[in-house]
């Protein structure tokens, strides 16, 4: 079968399953007895195995197969989850991730067999699942017998857990039927008919087992009959009627299972043999066969959900309501929308120029166009939005590893994972966040002893909170650790020659903290492989600034620190206030504007020879944009000045402009790499009349 067309789906789904495995393992480590979690892990591992098998990635399949065995032992209660087991399982995940990324790059899984991991897994099974040991010798002979039995009477042999399910069902007064379904011998689409049988039964009960397996049935690997075991509330007649209602089904007959199974240990091994046959991993060494007792349980995911069996080739899947789209196509769409908005702005501008000449209906149409383009823009933006979850979901695992590596106890608490951000931001934000979290774990949190002395809980807490604030998304990384020791930073800076002692003496705490964002500045006394090389915070800052955001730090020595990242919701198109300075037009992002004030010139006061105004109890410094931007010409004498009050965090500044033009939707364009632009210009935009206006980044001015 040519599977290359499924490669993308395979990669995407593998990643999803790996992520879910990682999440569930974290839970399992804390609650080793959580059966939902174990089942969830089992399903994910099983789907992965099936997918890898279908795609022909043998190594990946082998590894997942062995993982599955371990999970099966855990599920059957033969094995206890402990931290070292979870460690090995995480290594498995890493190895699987490597396979997937190899496949993504080269379409080949690579040649790493990951023998040590497989060995470790098998050792776990060998040491923990000791109950099985005596039965092992019998396994091979037993299984041949069983096979023979299977062929002879065609009856289904149930695995332990399936028997348990039957027993449970009987306890609940449900009916359990074993049914033989015969397909008409002239039937051409056997698999389709069988599929319909499964589908029709779906709403009436749970099919816990089929023989041959669902996968084989779907692949038409059966003659003209197959067996199913179903747990249902309905009567035998009703069920067979449903089955027979599918055309070309000749007969459905069977019996009800009424007596509970006795729990037999060594039957497990028969299943092992049987299901080994079903799985493609058959070619494995003999000795493994006896150990892989649990692989019988490999089928349940497929059997309880026959239609949606997590298989790479989604042929049996119900029609989805989502479409996967290449991000480049969305970029093209976005650019077109941008062009449309520019064209619309042009129409608006020209209709404004033609005084009186434009009739009513023309204006109405323009307003209509304006509404449509705005909606269109919003819709495209929404399509590009992704929950931040896809980035942050890997962090709990990272903190767990760090906790072991640094030998500090710590917990990560996350909130707002569903906060959405533009795809381009999502792609870039992972590294900076990781840096900040590592920073908190390594430098922020104190050792357990220090924490005890300070009367804090031994377990350090790191918080990652994301939320939307107006046109911005805010991500906070907070810890209850040491906080930043301002004096220490100062001394380090002086001793490294970053600042002079005179400078240090007059620096505010904030200035000192800003030093941390300077390139190659580290306060760590020793370099660890976690952090301390001084390439952290400046990278964080530059990356976030490149995304149009900014970072702020709040810290209390001894109590902890908070890094606050602010990011614009969208990157390409923003609402802006257009202002005039002399003959030049500038745009200021509406997101940072608080109010616009008309202030009498006489209200301007001087503090430290700087101009400030008093506004509703706040003293706000004012910035004369004309001077700052070297606008030619003098500002005309006025009684009142127009001040645009902008804010960043809790700081404010007033920008003095000549006059206001109005609010406009603008498309942000870059100025290219050769022209040096000052930080306060964040880009340019094209106005309706075709001229270019620069965008002022008010954040840099506050």
């Amino acid at each position: 079968m040519d599977v290359s067309q499924y490669l993308e789906i395979f990669i995407d789904e593998s990643k999803e399953h790996l992520q879910s495995l990682s999440d569930q393992l974290m839970i399992l480590e804390k609650e080793p007895d959580n059966s939902d979690t174990i089942n969830e892990i089992f399903r994910a591992a099983h789907s992965l195995k099936g997918m890898a098998g279908t795609m022909g990635y043998k190594r990946m399949q082998n590894l997942t197969h062995d993982m599955e065995n371990v999970f099966s032992e855990v599920r059957n209660g033969n094995m206890k989850v402990n931290s070292s087991l979870v460690d090995v399982l995480f290594q498995c995940l890493d190895a699987l991730e490597e396979y997937v990324s190899n496949i993504q790059e080269t379409q080949d899984e690579g040649t790493n067999d990951n023998e040590p991991i497989i060995k470790a897994l098998n050792e776990f099974i060998a040491s923990e699942g000791r109950d099985d040991a005596p039965a092992e010798q019998e396994a091979s002979s037993q299984s041949t017998e069983e096979e023979a039995k299977l062929e002879n009477n065609g009856k289904i042999v149930l695995a332990d857990f399936e028997k348990n399910a039957v027993n449970e069902a009987l306890k609940k007064q449900l009916h359990v039927y074993e049914i033989r379904v015969c397909v008409d011998e002239n039937c051409i689409l056997k698999a389709a008919r069988a599929f319909l049988v499964f589908k029709n039964l779906e709403g009436h009960g749970d099919i816990i087992k089929s023989e041959p397996s669902v996968q084989d049935i779907e692949d038409e690997k059966f003659d003209f009959d197959f067996h199913i075991v179903i747990i249902t509330e309905e009567s035998f007649e009703d069920i067979t009627k449903i089955i027979k209602s599918v055309s070309e089904i000749k007969d459905a007959s069977g019996y009800e299972i009424t007596t509970p199974f006795a729990e037999a240990k060594d039957e497990q091994h028969e299943e092992a043999k049987e299901s080994e046959e079903q799985t493609i991993a058959e070619q494995k060494e003999k000795k493994e066969e006896s150990k892989t007792a649990g692989s019988a349980s490999g089928k349940p995911a497929a059997q309880t959900k026959p239609v949606a069996s997590g298989n790479g080739n989604a042929k049996a899947k119900p029609v989805g309501h989502t479409v996967r789209v290449d991000i480049e196509k969305l970029d093209v769409l976005m650019n077109l929308v941008s062009e449309l908005i520019i064209a619309k702005n042009g129409l608006v501008a020209s209709s404004n120029e033609e005084e009186g000449g434009v009739n009513q209906s023309f204006n109405e149409q323009i307003e209509y166009l304006e509404r449509v383009t705005t909606n269109l823009h919003e819709s495209v933006m929404k399509v590009r939005m992704m929950p931040i979850e896809s980035v942050v979901s890997k962090f709990p695992r990272m903190i767990r590893d760090l906790s072991k590596k640094l030998n500090k106890k710590m917990e990560l608490y996350m909130s707002g994972e569903d906060t959405e951000l533009d795809r381009t931001v999502i792609d870039e934000i992972g590294d900076p966040l990781m840096h900040l979290l590592r920073n908190s774990a390594d430098h922020g949190l104190e050792s357990a002893e220090v924490r005890r002395e300070r009367g804090k809980s031994e377990v350090g807490s790191i918080f990652l909170d994301a939320y939307q604030d107006g046109n911005n998304v805010v991500i906070e990384v907070r810890d209850d650790g040491n906080g930043i020791d301002v004096e220490n930073v100062k001394n380090k800076a002086v001793s490294k020659g970053t600042i002079t002692e005179e400078q240090a003496a007059v620096m505010t705490d904030k200035d000192v903290i800003d030093l941390l964002f300077k390139p190659s500045f580290s306060t760590a006394d020793k370099v660890t492989d976690v952090s301390g090389r001084g390439v952290g915070l400046d990278v964080v800052k530059s990356k976030i600034e490149a995304l149009g955001g900014d970072v702020e730090v709040k810290t209390v020595y001894g109590e902890g620190s908070t890094f606050i990242i602010r990011l614009p919701l969208t990157l390409a198109i923003i609402q802006a206030l257009m202002v005039k300075l002399g003959d030049e037009k500038y745009a200021i992002s509406l997101g940072s504007i608080q109010t616009i004030e008309d202030i009498p010139v006489s209200d301007i006061k001087y503090v430290h020879a700087k101009e400030v105004i008093h506004l509703r109890g706040n003293v706000i410094p004012i910035i004369r944009l004309r001077e700052l931007l070297d606008v030619p010409g003098e500002q005309p004498e006025q009684e009142n000045i127009t001040v645009v009050i902008v804010s960043k965090g809790d700081k404010q500044a007033g920008l003095v402009v000549d006059s206001l033009i109005g609010q406009m939707e603008i498309v942000i364009k870059s100025l290219g790499k050769y022209i040096n632009i000052n930080k306060m210009i964040s880009g340019a935009t094209i106005l309706g009349d075709g001229s270019v206006a620069l965008i002022i980044d008010a954040n840099t001015l506050v």
């Binding site: 062009e339 520019i342 030049e584 700052l628 931007l629 070297d630 606008v631 364009k669 870059s670 100025l671 290219g672 790499k673 050769y674 022209i675 040096n676 632009i677 000052n678 306060m680 210009i681 340019a684 094209i686 075709g690 001229s691 270019v692 206006a693 620069l694």
Partner: protein, 155 residues
């Protein structure tokens, strides 16, 4: 067949003839290698960009793209541009980036053989020498061949 050969010659760097666009800046004639030229447009409204390099006049809107515009005169240390109806902005593409350069006038396209190009080690007295990678001789006139990549990328 003849035509195809000429095209090959133009695109091939190592061939023995190259095409240049001859422009005049002040009293001198400069040649710009045609392979970097994307477009030539009339002078248009340039939006000033504050606090940038002095030789950048600002940015223009070229069919929805924002393109920085450089003054060769200022870059070469000559007097500031005086715009006339012959002023043109030559749109250059280098290394994926697009940039405009202002010239007084665009004259013609010439094809220079390697034999017509002289090295310029001895013109050190010129301020512009760093950006000249040869002198071309065409119909008895001398053309300073601009190293446009160095001109744009440096500083």
């Amino acid at each position: 067949m003849e035509e195809v050969k000429t095209v090959e010659k133009i695109t091939d760097n190592a061939s023995d003839s190259m095409q240049y666009i001859v422009v005049s800046i002040g009293n001198e004639q400069y040649g710009i290698n045609i392979q970097y030229i994307d477009n030539i447009v009339r002078n248009q409204r340039i939006t000033r960009v504050p606090k940038t390099q002095t030789y950048y006049k600002g940015v223009i809107n070229l069919r929805g793209e924002i393109i920085p515009v450089m003054s060769i005169r200022l870059k070469l240390g000559l007097e500031d541009d005086e715009y006339s109806d012959k002023t043109r902005i030559i749109i250059i593409k280098v290394d994926g980036a697009t940039i405009g350069v202002i010239v007084d006038q665009v004259k013609e396209v010439v094809t220079l053989e390697t034999d017509d190009i002289e090295n310029v080690a001895r013109t050190e007295s010129l301020v512009a020498s760093g950006y000249i990678n040869g002198i071309g001789k065409n119909k008895g006139e001398l053309i300073s061949l601009l190293d446009i990549v160095a001109l744009i990328e440096e500083g």
